[in-house]
Symmetry: D2
Subunit: 354 residues, 4 copies
């Protein structure tokens, strides 16, 4: 398996299955001299961790990160930062029923076909547990990027959609509710819906919106490595993501150029921001905003017909402790991946002039 290393200059290599000894990674290329707020890193991990509220999986994992290297007297030294999060709550027996069976819309079948071997416990490498390592690296990237601010929130759960433009959202309320929706009335409705879905033994999808402020002009590379192209890849690499749009997105396809164009102010800012803060693949200094679509979790607590590794029909009942809706816990993951992309392009942008 390739593809466990991400980035060009600010790079992360991650490892770990949900039921091994630990997950973790190596951050290579983090600049020297960043005074690290370690508590802030743990806070982002806590926003992602299981058991944090009544509407997420009730697994209990502290998800405490241990740093092995690259930090000296509170600062990054420029050397690689090795870290691990030990797995403490691995109920391997929960997964014996899937040892030889393929869960619908999971990666079990394709793993077996691709590798000829599969660590079936907890989904192995395909478990979303892998994203905790991304959150660690992203939290460090955020501190490097300061004063760039990256804020994600839940803007849709099933059919319940927040009808506010990102520029009108009050970010201060996001962490005040377990759904991480910045509209508290909407948040309550979403929470109720998630609880109902769980009672049904079912799951539901959702949408996360992310807004990035204080972005300098010039991040992103014009051809293949456009800023939004890499943001799109970063988001689509998160488990369960089915779509990505930025700025005017899919709705923008129905507009005319005369409606869509963002006219300039004299200082280079624009009067509108349908471009989503990116023009020609390069940040223009306006807020970057994008939406990320998450499908419903495939593991449901209902009986489903499926097949085993011999192709024989079997019945399967979801077991274990799963999320009825991933978006509340995915908010810090979206932020982390955005931070990794911006950190990388920030470093790259130092190299473009003679």
């Amino acid at each position: 398996m390739s593809g466990n290393i991400y980035g060009t200059l600010f790079r992360i290599a991650t490892f770990g299955e949900s039921h091994g000894a630990a997950i973790g990674g190596v951050i290579d290329g983090c600049p020297a001299g960043i005074k690290l707020d370690l508590a802030a890193i743990q806070r982002d991990l806590d926003r992602r961790k299981p058991g944090q509220s009544a509407i997420v999986t009730q697994r209990k994992e502290p998800d405490e990160v241990v740093f092995f290297s690259g930090i000296f007297e509170g600062q990054t030294t420029g050397t690689p930062i090795g870290f691990a999060i030990h797995n403490t709550n691995q109920k391997s027996k929960d997964y014996s029923h899937i040892k030889d069976s393929y869960r619908p819309s999971h990666a079990d079948y394709v793993y077996d076909e691709k590798y000829g071997i599969r660590d079936y416990r907890g989904g192995g490498r395909s478990s979303a547990r892998e994203t905790a390592s991304r959150v660690v690296a992203g939290a460090i990237a955020k501190q490097f990027l300061n004063p760039v601010s990256i804020q994600a929130y839940v803007s849709g759960v099933g059919a319940i959609q927040l009808d506010k433009h990102p520029s009108e959202v009050d970010f201060s309320t996001i962490e005040d509710n377990p759904v991480r929706c910045p509209d508290l009335k909407m948040a309550v409705a979403m929470e109720e819906y998630i609880k109902q879905i769980r009672k049904e033994g079912d799951t539901v999808g959702g949408v996360i919106t992310c807004v990035i402020k204080n972005v300098p002009v010039g991040l992103g590379e014009p051809a293949f490595d456009k800023l939004h192209a890499e943001l799109g890849k970063a988001m689509l690499s998160i488990n369960a993501v089915k779509g990505f749009e930025y700025g005017s997105g899919f709705a923008g396809t129905q507009m005319k150029g005369s409606q869509h164009n963002d006219l300039f102010n004299s200082d280079g800012t624009t009067q509108t921001n349908r471009s989503g803060g990116i023009q020609g693949g390069i940040s223009n200094g306006m807020d970057i905003y994008f939406r990320v679509a998450f499908k419903p979790v495939a593991t449901i607590m209902q009986q489903q017909s499926t097949i085993n590794s011999k192709g024989e029909p079997v019945e399967m009942q979801g077991k274990g402790r799963h999320d009825p809706c991933v978006v509340p816990r995915a908010v810090p993951i979206v932020e982390a991946m955005a931070a990794l992309v911006l950190a990388d392009f920030s470093l790259l942008n130092r190299t473009i002039k003679s």
Copy 2:
């Protein structure tokens, strides 16, 4: 500027501005022993070229590709394939009016800010002309991928949306109409609308859907380099793209897991295909399908207020010969980028077992 090289094993490096001597590229990593159908490569270029119909830009450029290396007696040798498309129709005077002014929603402003220098003629490197090089490389990748078939088509122009699931589309009619919409009635409506938009001196956006058939199981890497993540990046790297969704996409976020899951048949195929042919980032052998959102072209033939490089307000009137809607010409570009992604993952997939 970085970011002009794409891919890990099947790689392409492209060069060229719209008003230099030529555009072109180097394909590195193309396997040896592919019997090339050079006419098929030129056919894809012709599907992209200006002046091909009444609803695209009326610039006349033959876009003939010249190969310098890597092909011997009709076959690829495994050595790098260098190629160029000479620029024959460079009306540089058309662009003198933008030398010091910034076109709204174009890359002029960010280029100047980022690089401190800008080849203003024809948009320089930000011109969609760059994508012709991608079409060449993609056309070769298609021949390597055979019998994988990659077929894109226009499924939306402005508010006119094709309401057919990709699995129901008759591909044979796509090239029979200038819009490249597989529903001929709808194609006529789209064509009329584009003509009307052009009369207004305006532009309009659209959507391209792409379907990939005969994909082997196992393409894609589980973590950062998920198959759909790289497809998303590839599509978002095309000029004017604002969004990407695959399988159930954004609509899938409103479904329940019990509705969304694709149940298996005994042979590993699935009864439905909301996964869009990809599970856990890896192809599962079902058809891959995705949708790509294109914004309206920024260059309009109407007067717009903007600023010059000193921040002074200026009036600007679009000149030159531009597309009122890019999607008809973008169809082969979408296919080319999809082919590059699949070729790369096909090679990568040979390396995963001991």
Copy 3:
């Protein structure tokens, strides 16, 4: 700091300073289905570890590797292999004398100039301790490469030079003496010399020769990534290495073409092997052999004049427990790096034909 990730397909990311909690790494791209002999991995670590004999540093570190992921029921799964070696013997006080002073011919000065911050304990990242992670990855690469065999040995200590062509060497005796020289008489002389050098509080350089057998024809890429070019980089990336030559090497520059050319046998093997198993950057199936030059360790137990971070002259006396000659312990490191290079090119070589 960049440059802590090595390889294209079989990749390793390493982390760790000599005085942090641990060193370790992530192996990405190791194929699935390799039955791992974990004891063999530890054996290679033991060949590198301090305190193994009377002629190496007397630090005591068990250098036990812990694997976090990527191995299931004794086999590689294809997922990334995370591992760590915990640091157990960190006499940080030994290094307080170099906190503000720059040891001659060490990296202290350039680190401070480059990063503005330095973990001065034990040389930080510039410590050869980092190479233990390479040995772990290389030991796994060896098992993947089987039946390719990689055997290094000491062929020079100071002026004592083994005057035998690699093709005449009896590998079976290498591990029978602490120097790892395959000529036991010569080994005794080298051992005596190293002991004398240590008594003087001095150090001495040496040469390691490496021979690779059973290499398939075709490894290596013709232009920039020639097999010997990457082997050279791999060797030169090991601490204290000053030179690399393969096949006829520097001596070959004094030969005529008519003397140097390797004439073919009818089966494609060659009658002589001045090419060193590589022609045009590609393995030709003959034994690959090369020599690696190691300078004397910079840390000596004698008083030296140097400067501190203010540029003031200071006297410095080497402290701690250092190697009088690195080559005996560097033998498994040379093998490990060679294995990583060959594993990478082996995977790459699967992708070159259609």
Copy 4:
């Protein structure tokens, strides 16, 4: 074939066989705003081109470079620089005798084994003609690096060795003689020897020394990507190179640490420079110097026994116009590769601090 792209930030992709339409490349990542001296680029090409003197191959090729992109009004724009050198003197018939036969110590045999197809004309991609593209890119890198100066010269032809330390060499005389040896008496001896070797229909090897001055402190990355490791790879990637050593090199292995260490002056410079300007993989501001070993050219004008593709014995007589000794023409190639390495690390070094 992979491996035709070199570098991380300042990257070059090259293409071209000796008997195709052209060779050339794409330079990606060259910073914007470099005022290019195009004549200086051509001058370096002229130093490499055939027919320049009586002791090199008498093929006549003008080797004129054409730039397609990336340069506007005399400056680099930051966009990729595409270029080609058209092949004008392709005596394909000269090579018909090797269509089915394998020249000893050439790449013919391994190409056939590896790719299953081979452009046998002129050695195809394995021809040293490929290095002309490197010279173009290196000449641009040199201009970016200014005031870093990179100067190579011939220090050995066969057994005739220049016995002067690089710090004592007068560079001003290098281009005054066809051998490119800075000692004119020695140059005459070398020239005579090369002429004699040619008369014998034979070839001879040689050594090139390279000195880099005005290097800033801090270039190079500590672990795998040490400055000298990458320089080594770059040199070993040049056709016919068999070895690389920097600073004290192989001779340094016979020294004691007390003799080898470079003691500091108060300004951070060192009193001696056995380190060769690099410590711990990072430049320390002193002159970088290294030596590159070239084997004798494999094509000789004598009859040799060899095999054909069926393994049958055949007699072969070298034809065509070949170099009796490659080092005079390889001097600008060594410089070019050194420039590419330093340009890359210079850009990388901008990204290491917060």
